[in-house]
Symmetry: C2
Subunit: 160 residues, 2 copies
């Protein structure tokens, strides 16, 4: 390959860098899935989140917009979106306990990198990771549809 360094890391704390506002809702509409009041609220919460949210967070934020929503509906909506492949589920190395976090499926895969001390989570894309996926598809004869990479360590400030 070429000798130039494979710098393709574009970090950022923002979760939904690739999110077009209303994308999820449009997607459900396109697939003829019923858009209820509760779903609209939840989709909006997910699309505008600037950090990773778990079911509890989603409920709390949704209630702030419209209190007429139940915990169970949050879980059922999460399940729906997961099945449709519109959101990803993470657990961020269990850094914050055993809950699951959700993020709207980005255009490109990215890697989650968490500092084990300060808990900050960064997201990066990487050409190398894309190559890795292609290599696995080739060598193991797999069709990859989902990936989840969570890397833990110590950031510059927290280095021991």
């Amino acid at each position: 390959m070429s000798p130039r360094p494979q710098r393709r890391i574009s970090s950022g704390e923002r979760i939904n860098a690739y999110e077009k506002r209303g994308r999820l809702q449009a997607e459900l509409g396109r697939r003829g899935i019923r858009l209820t009041r509760q779903r609209r609220v939840l989709l909006r919460v997910m699309e505008t989140a600037r950090r990773h949210l778990d079911a509890h967070d989603l409920l709390r934020r949704a209630k702030r917009i419209d209190p007429r929503i139940d915990r169970v509906t949050v879980y059922r909506t999460i399940d729906l979106l997961k099945r449709l492949g519109l959101i990803d589920e993470l657990d961020l190395l269990h850094l914050r306990g055993d809950r699951h976090f959700y993020e709207s499926h980005a255009a490109r895969d990215h890697i989650h990198i968490a500092c084990l001390r300060c808990g900050k989570v960064r997201e990066v894309e990487s050409r190398l990771f894309e190559s890795l996926k292609r290599q696995i598809e080739r060598d193991l004869h797999m069709k990859i549809t989902t990936t989840r990479t969570e890397i833990g360590g110590y950031c510059d400030a927290c280095r021991p």
Copy 2:
């Protein structure tokens, strides 16, 4: 770099390919940590497992060797080993529900690749993945200590 293909994938269903029998126990001894009857049994179960086990599996297998062990002890031992960095925690893309699976920390990092249809999990090592980690350490000024990569897709037999 060289033009030869980066084939470094060494798969296999076996979990503890790199495990020396008694490694975990020796490690605890070396660190002056009390080796109780229950811990010995659990360490043995972990070292000899040929597939990923969750807390429930660990308890069941431990009880087969010596029934005098409680569920709580399993959780406490898992916690101990996690804190010491001797085992890794996975959830295999929640393919089998929301439990956690454990594996004794291998010499080299590996990637878990699961077929979303038949559920088979394969483990591979990859040079590209090692490069990816080094790239991240360099570019983000991180010291990486843990990684967890879970890739889902469809294997050759299950391809739609």
